[in-house]
């Protein structure tokens, strides 16, 4: 909200909610809301009763995690190792890098300043261990600094929650009368060990204390940022048609992929115009590939749509969705296998006509006819549901939406003897049925009517699949209507 410029003022209570077991619960709140007594984990309806003017927005935890991942990489301006801690923390290993910023105090001030420029408030602490830094940042003084030999004294006055314990464990310690870290350190170790012998690390105060004091190792596993795989061509003179450069770029990119034994699922070609316009063209493959000729063909006919303007001077080809791909063995005739040829066909068709146009039918476990088959994108892997052993008689063609027919001559049992479909009068010569298909109560709306299907043959020999929606006396609407759903061979 702050980014899009419509952030609410600080003095209005506003909360972010997520779905809980019994309706939405509060995920985060601003300062004004906290002062009104609104706390995390409470139900939104209860808090609305407390404060009728409460403004509720839905939280986006997945988006928050993505942003935190990016922020973790951004924070590497201060030190080479950083890692995301939980859902709301970052741990930086600044060992040996603080002097570059003029000492530890100056480093903390610089960090706070840069984060506030991004519009983020921070609680920062600097300590010799992960656990101590975690506790001091959340429960310690502002910009807490903890010298290497004073971890125990710095942690001593903090509540037991500062040891990264679970709620249950903290509550238990509280009931035992152990309220601060100093209390735990004062208790004889043996008695606490006996009580928490079977507790996991997250709920074991002794192990957590050891970690905070540095007696139990807790190294920081920093994730390396993988460099993007890309090939680029800088041109001294602007050109109007980038097509001739694509095979060369693909070959370059595939050489890079081959060196790392990888293949890509997506390609993005970015073309920079001399006047600053940027256009991108994307292509995708159904399985990882590093075949340069195949990848180059995916851009066939796609580059003509780009407006050249005064010409292009930079072309960049990036590999996205990179996956490991071992070298494949070809047959003696140097031809790839059938499945490879099929994957290449799928890629070409998808590149030319779009993802939605190229599909594969998949069986689904359902007895409602239109749900028994689903169309999935050909690029994605798919699994068929188990096919029933005794297959009922089904039509060869199914209309996407059943078409209503007008009954001219109804009979009490069986399909109508005469009906109008697409402005033609059809007479039923023979029929089979009914086959009753009940609605699936677990996903249909309440009030959905059952269907009685009939296979009918008209006077000219066309075999059609009709159904009557509902019964006369089912109490779910008026007179049942008739529909045509498919055609038999």
């Amino acid at each position: 909200m702050a980014r899009s410029g419509n952030a609410p003022p600080d003095d209005l209570p506003i909360v972010l909610a997520i779905d809980g077991q019994h309706g939405p619960v509060i995920h985060a709140s601003n300062r004004a809301a906290r002062q009104l007594g609104i706390h995390k984990g409470a139900r939104v309806v209860d808090m609305r009763a407390l404060c009728p003017t409460l403004q509720v927005e839905y939280a986006d935890p997945a988006g928050d995690m993505r942003a935190l991942d990016q922020l973790m990489l951004w924070a590497r301006q201060w030190c080479p190792w950083s890692v995301v801690d939980g859902t709301d923390g970052l741990i930086l290993d600044t060992t040996g890098s603080d002097h570059l910023f003029g000492g530890e105090v100056a480093l903390l001030v610089a960090m706070e300043e840069r984060f506030s420029q991004l519009g983020l408030t921070t609680q920062i602490a600097l300590a010799p261990t992960w656990g101590a830094a975690w506790g001091l940042a959340r429960f310690g003084p502002v910009r807490a600094l903890c010298p290497a030999d004073g971890v125990d004294t710095a942690l001593a006055p903090l509540p037991v929650k500062a040891l990264r314990l679970t709620e249950d464990s903290a509550l238990l310690l509280h009931r035992l009368g152990l309220k601060t870290v100093a209390d735990i350190a004062a208790v004889p170790r043996l008695s606490l060990t006996r009580r928490f012998a079977r507790a996991s690390l997250e709920s074991n105060p002794l192990l957590r204390l050891d970690q905070a004091l540095g007696q139990l190792a807790e190294p920081l596993a920093s994730i390396e940022e993988t460099p993007p795989l890309r090939a680029l061509t800088r041109l001294s003179e602007p050109i109007e048609d980038p097509t001739t450069h694509v095979p060369e770029l693909c070959a370059d990119l595939c050489a890079q992929l081959k060196a790392t034994e990888q293949g890509c699922r997506q390609l993005r070609l970015t073309i920079y115009r001399t006047d600053g316009e940027v256009s991108t063209v994307c292509a995708a493959t159904s399985r990882p590939s590093r075949n340069a000729t195949h990848l180059a063909r995916l851009f066939d006919g796609k580059l003509e749509r780009i407006n050249p303007g005064f010409g292009f001077d930079l072309i960049v080809l990036e590999a996205l969705g990179v996956e490991p791909l071992a070298a494949a063995q070809y047959g003696l005739d140097r031809k790839a296998g059938d499945d490879m040829a099929l994957a290449h066909l799928v890629d070409r068709l998808t590149a030319r006509f779009g993802i939605k146009a190229v599909t594969r039918p998949v069986r689904r476990e359902s007895h409602v006819p239109e749900r028994a088959q689903a169309w999935v994108g050909a690029l994605t892997a798919h699994t068929d549901a188990d096919v029933p052993v005794v297959a009922p008689d089904r039509p060869l063609r199914l209309l996407e939406t059943p078409e209503e027919i007008r009954v001219l001559y109804a009979v009490p049992e069986g399909p109508p003897a005469q009906f109008i479909w697409r402005r033609q009068t059809l007479q039923v010569a023979r029929y089979a049925g009914p086959e009753r298909i009940a609605p699936e109560w677990w996903q249909d709306k309440p009030g959905t009517r059952l269907r009685d299907y009939f296979k009918v043959e008209d006077q000219t020999g066309r075999r059609l699949w009709l159904y009557r929606e509902g019964l006369h006396d089912d109490g779910r609407g008026g007179i049942p209507r008739w529909f045509l759903h498919g055609m038999f061979a």
Partner: protein
């Protein structure tokens, strides 16, 4: 028999929503273990629906491409005919678009024969104009065979199949019934049609594939 050869054939439906055409095409692709590319244009889907997997017995699976323009349908079919992994290509085009010219059909025929992939073009709502198709068929549904279990119910499908132009076989008209239990096509001559009764319509001829 002409309907099983690995070449390009087009087949006309007597009435637009008649699924007998599709039944006939699928019966001649029956023994395929490789996937089939099925290209449909927008109008064919709206008027005659899409393939329904529970009834289509192609063991290799279907890859369907649904497009708006007939030009794209022809382009996708050509792409498919260049892929050796396919067991067949079925195209469905509505009406008589200008894109479906003699040259376009000739390209399909040559590609189909070069890679030995059977290619079928199902046409609805159009007339049989100039085409390079090696075999040209017309299929109409007929009242089905008697059902042994229920006299009032329809039985196995029966079609009137007319081969009206062919390079390799003698044109003719047959009554074809599809025995669904054994998955065979039975060709029988139309009675009273002397030109056809001669040789090709032997009863019990095996469904080619």
């Amino acid at each position: 028999m002409a309907c099983g050869s690995r070449t390009f054939a087009d087949v006309f439906a007597a009435t637009a929503p008649d699924a007998g055409v599709v039944g006939f095409v699928l019966a001649s692709l029956q023994n395929q273990t490789r996937p089939v590319l099925w290209v449909q244009d927008h109008l064919s889907v709206a008027e005659a629906g899409g393939p329904y997997l529970p009834a289509v017995s192609l063991s290799g699976g279907i890859l369907r491409v649904r497009l708006n323009r007939p030009t794209d349908v022809l382009q996708a079919m050509e792409d498919g005919l260049g892929c050796s992994a396919l067991g067949g290509v079925i195209g469905e085009i509505w009406g008589e678009p200008p894109a479906l010219s003699f040259t376009a059909t000739k390209r399909l025929a040559l590609r189909s024969e070069h890679n030995a992939i059977p290619c079928w073009l199902v046409r609805r709502g159009g007339t049989a104009n100039l085409s390079a198709a090696r075999n040209r068929w017309r299929v109409a549904s007929l009242p089905s065979t008697p059902n042994v279990y229920d006299a009032k119910a329809p039985g196995d499908p029966r079609w009137r199949v007319e081969l009206f132009r062919s390079r390799s076989a003698q044109p003719g008209t047959w009554i074809v019934s599809h025995d669904r239990a054994s998955d065979r096509l039975h060709f029988s001559a139309v009675s009273g049609d002397g030109a056809v009764a001669a040789s090709h319509g032997a009863v019990g001829e095996r469904a080619p594939g």
